[in-house]
């Protein structure tokens, strides 16, 4: 390719694939080193130290932070609550997303409008504005309690109850199924119509077609959505911060909020770094488990 140019000339050098490739990738390489790699290493280092903002040096304390975590009631509770939040919200969210995407595949001029309608919560759900609305909907005299009292039930003190406080947050996460739905919808469009026709000739019923054709064909996309939604559910911050602030009695202390509090409220940077490393390990393990088990339920075309 470069034979028209003299080897060794400057423009020849600048046109070599390895040079062009690195030049174009430079923003990422710079960002990866500065904003991912170095912070991760620093975070690992700080997790073994006693460090706070303003202190000149980080005192090395060995595994003290990690040992303290094992005895930290709030930390243990935040892990339990976060797992509960993720384990309930993600499957529900994906089921809704898949169901609605499936229902909305019919050829209809209205489908785009409908999809947009269902997408609106995803569009605005991450904002503080909607979080504040949510807080108000579940307030003592809020909308949900009005519905309950109209139906003859008692008011529920949503954010006053340790057992219930997490559910408005879960509902809010499920409510935002739109973005997963759109990815599912795109995947559904790519399933060859001939599969369904063949199944129909063989006399397959509707549910059979769904479980035998739609689900297997969609399984790589289910995997993608599952991984991405699990990760983002683990990182939920704004909703917990704005709506409940972690209360009552830490019943909605989601992990990210807990890390934030330790770092920026109590200024225990070292301790917070240890927490974020535990989070990284837990999440990597969960992602790994998802990928490992995916072998048994994800079908790729290559496997035939």
């Amino acid at each position: 390719m470069e034979k028209t140019k003299r080897a060794g000339s400057f423009s020849g050098f600048m046109n070599r694939d390895v040079v062009v490739g690195h030049i174009f990738a430079a923003p990422f390489i710079f960002g990866f080193i500065c904003f991912s790699l170095i912070p991760i290493c620093l975070s690992l280092y700080y997790s073994f130290t006693d460090y706070s903002l303003g202190s000149k040096i980080a005192t090395f304390v060995g595994a003290k932070n990690f040992l303290a975590l094992a005895r930290d009631e709030v930390f243990l509770k935040s892990i339990r609550k976060t797992l509960q939040y993720v384990a309930i919200s993600v499957p529900l969210k994906l089921s809704f997303a898949l169901l609605v995407a499936f229902v909305l595949t019919r050829r209809s001029r209205m489908v785009t409008l409908y999809r947009s309608l269902y997408y609106v919560p995803s569009l605005v759900g991450g904002s503080v504005a909607v979080a504040l609305v949510w807080k108000q909907l579940f307030a003592r005299k809020g909308l949900f309690n009005t519905i309950l009292t109209d139906m003859g039930f008692d008011r529920i003190n949503w954010f006053g109850s340790e057992a219930l406080a997490i559910y408005p947050l879960i509902l809010m996460a499920v409510w935002q199924f739109g973005s997963s739905m759109i990815i599912f919808a795109a995947g559904l469009k790519e399933i060859p119509q001939t599969y369904y026709e063949a199944a129909q000739i063989d006399g397959a019923s509707g549910p059979q077609r769904f479980f035998r054709i739609t689900l297997p064909c969609l399984s790589p996309i289910i995997l993608y959505n599952l991984v991405m939604q699990t990760i983002s559910a683990f990182m939920t911050f704004t909703q917990a911060f704005v709506i409940t602030g972690g209360g009552p009695n830490n019943a909605t202390m989601l992990y990210a909020l807990n890390v934030y509090n330790q770092a920026f409220k109590y200024n225990n940077m070292g301790y917070a770094c240890a927490m974020s490393w535990v989070m990284l390990i837990v999440m990597s393990l969960i992602t790994l488990v998802i990928f490992r088990t995916s072998r048994f339920w994800v079908f790729s075309e290559a496997d035939g």
């Binding site: 046109n15 694939d17 490739g21 690195h22 030049i23 174009f24 990738a25 923003p27 990422f28 960002g31 904003f35 991912s36 170095i38 912070p39 991760i40 975070s43 700080y46 903002l53 909305l104 785009t112 409908y114 999809r115 269902y118 609106v120 919560p121 569009l123 605005v124 991450g126 503080v128 504005a129 909607v130 504040l132 609305v133 909907l137 005299k141 909308l143 009005t146 759109i182 990815i183 795109a186 790519e190 790589p220 996309i221 990182m235 911050f237 704004t238 704005v242 992990y255 890390v259 934030y260 770092a263 940077m269 917070a272 770094c273 974020s276 989070m279 999440m283 790729s300 290559a302 496997d303």
Partner: protein
Amino acid sequence: MKEKRLILKILYHTLVLALGFLMIYPVLWMISGSFKDNAEILRGTLSLIPAKAKLSNYATGWKGFGGTTFATFFKNSFFVTSVATFGTVLSSSLVAYSLSRFRFRGRNFWFMCMLATMMLPGQVIMIPQYLIYYRLGLVPGYTPLILPNFCGQAFFIYQMMQFMQGIPKELDEAAKIDGCSKYAIYWRIILPLLKPAIVTTVIIQFYWKWDDYMGPLLYLSRPKSYTASIAIKLFADSASVTDFGAMFAMSTFSLIPVFLIFLFFNKYLVEGIGTSGLKG
């Protein structure tokens, strides 16, 4: 038979619409709340139509707090969001071009790094990042909110790479024969053809940045520099009795840009996110 079909069709559309209405009800409730007075909101009425519609909430809300009006907050949000979105599009498309068009030593390594950052939870690196910026004297300030977006974002790089795979290589070859360098190919061939992917990126990144709360919460400390999302939360906290009408008014206002972008480009978004390449 035909009648049965029609009834089923009507049933389908009614059901889908009803559920859709339920989905956007909280948003509608917020918008209608911005025209209600405080007492009416606190009563928790289901009605979307205010008993007595009034615009004064917008005037009250706009005044903001501590002498800073929402004009400042929205201006700040616009600044951060537009610069960061521009940076994301530029840098992500550069990186995507590199990773999808060139097979060079190190390419696979960087590609793996990119996939890894896509799955790396942001909170894990949040604290050390903060400490670095702090040491560099960039806290408080806008730099930490904007600079990382000029370094490519894995999610968008990946999307753009998927899209570039669909741009025929023959176009590159033809341009090369016509004397285009590999740099000119990016500018003259790839970038113009990348438009649909760019639009998707702009939409998604715009509302991610616009809604971003944690970033401004960490890196901004002077009220004059607050973005709208921080300001709304503080507005809710500032008075002992929250003026919900005014708060909803500003909340509604803050969602207008997001809705506008969505309305204009929603076709790209609803159809644009492809899944090609996710298979197998």
